[in-house]
C-alpha cells in the first residue's frame, strides 16, 4: 500500500488554519522582573506621530521602560470599538485612553484600575476628575480639556462693518451679522458640517442647565422632561430660524467637516464652528481670523460652549508588579509639565491641570477665557444613557438634516429623538 499524502495535506492545512486562530487567544500579562526592562503596551486614539514627543520624552527619562504604541486609524467611534473588541478578546492594553462615554462600561467589566489615591491625581482639576468618576472613584486621568468656539474670518467680517471687538454675542445679533455679510456679497456667511448640525444648541442648553441641579439632558434620561418639551420647543426652533431666514443653506446636509474647514481656510466662509485643533490649519492658510464667542440665545446669558474634559488615561486592572509600577510612572510623566507640553505640542490639546499653565496660540485667547478657564463647557451626550450616546448623537444630526431639508419640523425632530431614547432605555 503506497503512502497517501492527501490526509497529511489536509491535516497541515487545518493546522495552518488553526495556528493563527490560536494566536487570537488571550495572552497573559507578563509582570516583568523588578530590575529588568519592562515593556508597556499603550493604546491611544491618535496617530503615533502625535504621541512621538510624549513617548520619546518618557523613554528618555526611564530608559528601562519601553512603550509599545498602538492606535486605530479613523474616528473616535472606531477607537472605542477596537478597545471594546480588545477587551472582550482578553487583549487589554496596559495603559490606554478611556473615552468618558465608555468609562462606565470599562469599570463594570473590571478593566480599569482605581486611580483615586494615586499621587499624580492631585494635579488634576476637579472638572476633569468629575468626568472620570464612576461610583465615587476616579478611574482615568484626564489632563486636557476641549471646547468649541466659532472661528471668524475678520477680512470678510470687515465687509459687513464688523471687527474683532464687535462680534455679536447673542442670537439675534448673530443673525443680523449673517444677513449683513450676505448683503455685502459673502455668499457663504456660515456653514455647519452634516456631522455637527445645531452647533450653538449645546451652548444654550449648557447655560440653561447651569441654572438647575441636574442637566436638561440628564432630566430627559430620567424621564422628567422630553426632547420635544426642551429641544423641540425652544432650542431647535430657534436654531431653525437660520434655515427659515435663508442663512443656512440646504447644502450643509451634504458637507463633511473637512469640506467646511476647507471653505474657511480658503477664505470663502465667514464663520464656522471650530476648536483649538484647527489653529495650525488656519495659521498655515495665513488667514486674518479669530476665535470668538458662540452666540447665546439672549443678551446677558453667560457664555457657554460645547466641550468637556478630554478622554483620560487608564491603567489596566490586570497588571501588577513591575509593569504596574511602570504604568504609574507613565501616568506620572504624562501629568508632569514636560509631559503636558509634549501633549499640547503633539496632539494640539489644551492642558487643564493645577500644575501647568498652558501657553496657547493668541487666536484662541477669547474661548480660553470665556469657556475653559471658568469651566463653562457642556456636552449633552454626557447626560444620556451610557449604552447609546454615540447612536443618539448621530441621530440628532440626522434629525436636524431632515429639518434643514424641510422634511420635518423642529418639534417632529425632537419627538423622533424621544422615540430613539425610548429604544435605548428598553
Amino acid at each position: 500500500m503506497g503512502f497517501t499524502y492527501k490526509p497529511v495535506i489536509a491535516s497541515v492545512a487545518a493546522l495552518a488554519l488553526a495556528m493563527p486562530l490560536a494566536a487570537c487567544g488571550s495572552s497573559s500579562s507578563s509582570e516583568g522582573s523588578s530590575n529588568g526592562p519592562v515593556t508597556l503596551s499603550f493604546f491611544a486614539n491618535n496617530t503615533e506621530d502625535t504621541y512621538k514627543k510624549l513617548v520619546q520624552g518618557f523613554q528618555k527619562k526611564y530608559p528601562n521602560i519601553k512603550i509599545k504604541f498602538s492606535t486605530t486609524s479613523g474616528a473616535q467611534a472606531g477607537y472605542q470599538q477596537t478597545l471594546q473588541t480588545r477587551i472582550s478578546g482578553g487583549q487589554l492594553p496596559d495603559v490606554f485612553v478611556a473615552p468618558p462615554e465608555q468609562l462606565g462600561s470599562l469599570v463594570k467589566a473590571n478593566a480599569v484600575k482605581d486611580l483615586t489615591n494615586e499621587s499624580f491625581m492631585s494635579r488634576i482639576g476637579d472638572e476633569n476628575k468629575k468626568e472620570s468618576t464612576v461610583n465615587g472613584k476616579v478611574y482615568s486621568m484626564s489632563v486636557t480639556s476641549w471646547t468649541n468656539a466659532f472661528a471668524y474670518n475678520l477680512d470678510l467680517l470687515k465687509k459687513a462693518g464688523y471687527t474683532k471687538d464687535t462680534i455679536p454675542t447673542d442670537w439675534d445679533g448673530f443673525k443680523t451679522m449673517l444677513k449683513k455679510l450676505k448683503a455685502a456679497g459673502v455668499s457663504e456667511p456660515y456653514l455647519e458640517p452634516k456631522g455637527g448640525l445645531g452647533a450653538p444648541v449645546e451652548a444654550w442648553i449648557g447655560y440653561d442647565s447651569s441654572k438647575s441641579k441636574t442637566s436638561i439632558d440628564q432630566q430627559i434620561t430620567d424621564k422628567k422632561t422630553t426632547f420635544a418639551k426642551t429641544y423641540g420647543k425652544k432650542y431647535y426652533a430657534k436654531w431653525d430660524e437660520l434655515v427659515k431666514e435663508g442663512l443656512l443653506p440646504k447644502t450643509v446636509t451634504g458637507l463633511g467637516d473637512d469640506q467646511v474647514r476647507s471653505e474657511f481656510s480658503s477664505g470663502r466662509l465667514a464663520v464656522m464652528n471650530s476648536g483649538y485643533w484647527d489653529v495650525n490649519t488656519f495659521n498655515q492658510a495665513k488667514l486674518n481670523y479669530t476665535f470668538g464667542p458662540i452666540p447665546m440665545l439672549k443678551k446677558g446669558d453667560t457664555p457657554y460652549a460645547p466641550g468637556s474634559a478630554d478622554s483620560g488615561y487608564a491603567i489596566s486592572s490586570k497588571i501588577s508588579g513591575a509593569k504596574l509600577k511602570a504604568a504609574e510612572k507613565f501616568l506620572d510623566y504624562i501629568s508632569s509639565p514636560a509631559g503636558l507640553k509634549a501633549e499640547q505640542d503633539g496632539l494640539g490639546l489644551i492642558p487643564a491641570t493645577k500644575n501647568y499653565s498652558a501657553k496657547l496660540d493668541e487666536h484662541f485667547a477669547t474661548p480660553y477665557k470665556l469657556y475653559l478657564k471658568p469651566g463653562h463647557v457642556y456636552l449633552n451626550s454626557l447626560g444620556w444613557p451610557i449604552n447609546g450616546r454615540s447612536a443618539l448623537r448621530a441621530e440628532t444630526y440626522s434629525q436636524l438634516a431632515e429639518v434643514v431639508l424641510g422634511q420635518e419640523s423642529p418639534m417632529q425632530a425632537a419627538q423622533n429623538l424621544d422615540d430613539k431614547m425610548n429604544t435605548l432605555r428598553s
Binding site: 489536509a10 470599562l106 458637507l255 480658503s266
Partner: protein
C-alpha cells in the same frame, strides 16, 4: 446453458453487486474529495457558522460586548426593539435599493462592455486595464475622494465644471434622491470593470466555431449576441449577480464615507445600523439581533437568486 445466457435471478444479483461496487467507489471518491474540502469546511465553520450561532446567543441577551458572563437573558426583547427603531427600518430600505439597482445596472452595462473589450482593437489591453483598475481602491477611499468631486458647494469639482456652462451649483449630496443616485453611480463606476473582466474570461471560453457557423448562416452581430453569447454566458451572469447581490446587501463603507448615511437617513444602511446602534453603543445583543435577521434575509434573497439562475441556465441549455 451457456455463460452468455444468465438467469434473471443471476442477472439481478450481478446488477446488485455492480451497484454496491459503484457505491463503494463513489463513497471513496467522496471521502477523498472531503479530505481536500476539510480545510475549507473548517474555515467556513470557524468564521461563519460559529460566529452566527454566537450572534444568535448574544441576540437573546443584553450583552454589552465586555463580559458575557454578566449578560442577562432577555428573550426576544432585542428583536422587538429592532423593529421599533425607525432608523433601522430606514437602513433596510436603502440597502435593498442599493443591492438591486447596482446588480441590475452593473450586469446590464458590464456584459456589452466585456463583448467590446474582448474584441481586438488598438489599445484593447490598456482599455481593459483602465476599467479593471477602477475596482482596486477601497470603496471607503473612493467615498472620501468623491466627496470633494460631487460636493454640493459651488467649489465642488463637478459644480465648478458645470459653472462654465452657466449651470448653477447642483446639490449632489444634499438632496436625498441625488445623494442616493451618487452612491449608486459611484458603486457602478467602481465595480463595472471587475465584472466586465469576469465576463471576458467566460467569453474567451466560447468556441469560435459557433460564431463562424452563425456568420455563414447570415446572423448579424446582435443575433449572435442574443443567440450565442448570452446563453453561453449564463453561468458567468449567475456568478456575477451572486457577488453583486451579496456585496450590495452588506454595503457600508461607500455611503458612510461619502455622505455619512445622509442626508438625514437617505443613504443609511443596515450594516451602519448594526455598527452604530449595536456595536458602537455597547449593545452587542441588539447588534447581534440585527445581524441574525439580516443574515436570514440575505440567505433567502440569495437562495431565490440561485434558484432563478439555475432555472434560466436549464432553459438556455
Amino acid at each position: 446453458m451457456s455463460a452468455q445466457t444468465l438467469s434473471p435471478q443471476a442477472e439481478t444479483m450481478d446488477q446488485a453487486a455492480h451497484d454496491r461496487a459503484k457505491k463503494r467507489i463513489n463513497l471513496r471518491e467522496n471521502l477523498q474529495a472531503g479530505e481536500f474540502l476539510l480545510p475549507v469546511i473548517l474555515i467556513f465553520v470557524v468564521i461563519t457558522i460559529i460566529p452566527f450561532l454566537e450572534s444568535f446567543v448574544f441576540s437573546l441577551t443584553d450583552y454589552s460586548g465586555y463580559d458575557f458572563s454578566s449578560a442577562k437573558f432577555v428573550g426576544l426583547e432585542n428583536y422587538v426593539t429592532m423593529f421599533k427603531d425607525p432608523t433601522i427600518m430606514a437602513g433596510l430600505g436603502f440597502t435593498l435599493m442599493y443591492a438591486v439597482l447596482t446588480t441590475l445596472i452593473v450586469t446590464i452595462i458590464a456584459l456589452p462592455l466585456a463583448v467590446v473589450l474582448n474584441k481586438k482593437f488598438w489599445g484593447h489591453n490598456f482599455a481593459r486595464s483602465v476599467f479593471f483598475f477602477l475596482s482596486i481602491p477601497s470603496m471607503a477611499l473612493l467615498g472620501l475622494v468623491w466627496q470633494f468631486i460631487v460636493s454640493p458647494l459651488p467649489s465642488g469639482a463637478v459644480n465648478q465644471f458645470l459653472s462654465h456652462f452657466g449651470v448653477s451649483a447642483v446639490p449632489w449630496l444634499s438632496n436625498p434622491d441625488l445623494a442616493r443616485g451618487c452612491v449608486i453611480f459611484i458603486a457602478v463606476w467602481a465595480t463595472i470593470g471587475w465584472h466586465a473582466t469576469l465576463y471576458i474570461a467566460y467569453l474567451q471560453a466560447i468556441p469560435s466555431d459557433l460564431y463562424e457557423q452563425a456568420s455563414v448562416d447570415g446572423a448579424n452581430g446582435w443575433q449572435q449576441f442574443i443567440h450565442i453569447t448570452l446563453p453561453q454566458m449564463t453561468p458567468a451572469i449567475g456568478v456575477s449577480v451572486f457577488m453583486l447581490l451579496t456585496s450590495g446587501l452588506k454595503v457600508y463603507d461607500l455611503p458612510f464615507t461619502l455622505i455619512g448615511g445622509g442626508p438625514g437617513h437617505a443613504t443609511y444602511t443596515v450594516t451602519q445600523s448594526i455598527i452604530v446602534t449595536g456595536i458602537g453603543s455597547n449593545r452587542y445583543g441588539l447588534g447581534s439581533a440585527l445581524g441574525v435577521v439580516f443574515f436570514l434575509c440575505c440567505l433567502v434573497l440569495v437562495l431565490v437568486q440561485q434558484a432563478v439562475t439555475r432555472a434560466i441556465e436549464k432553459r438556455m441549455a
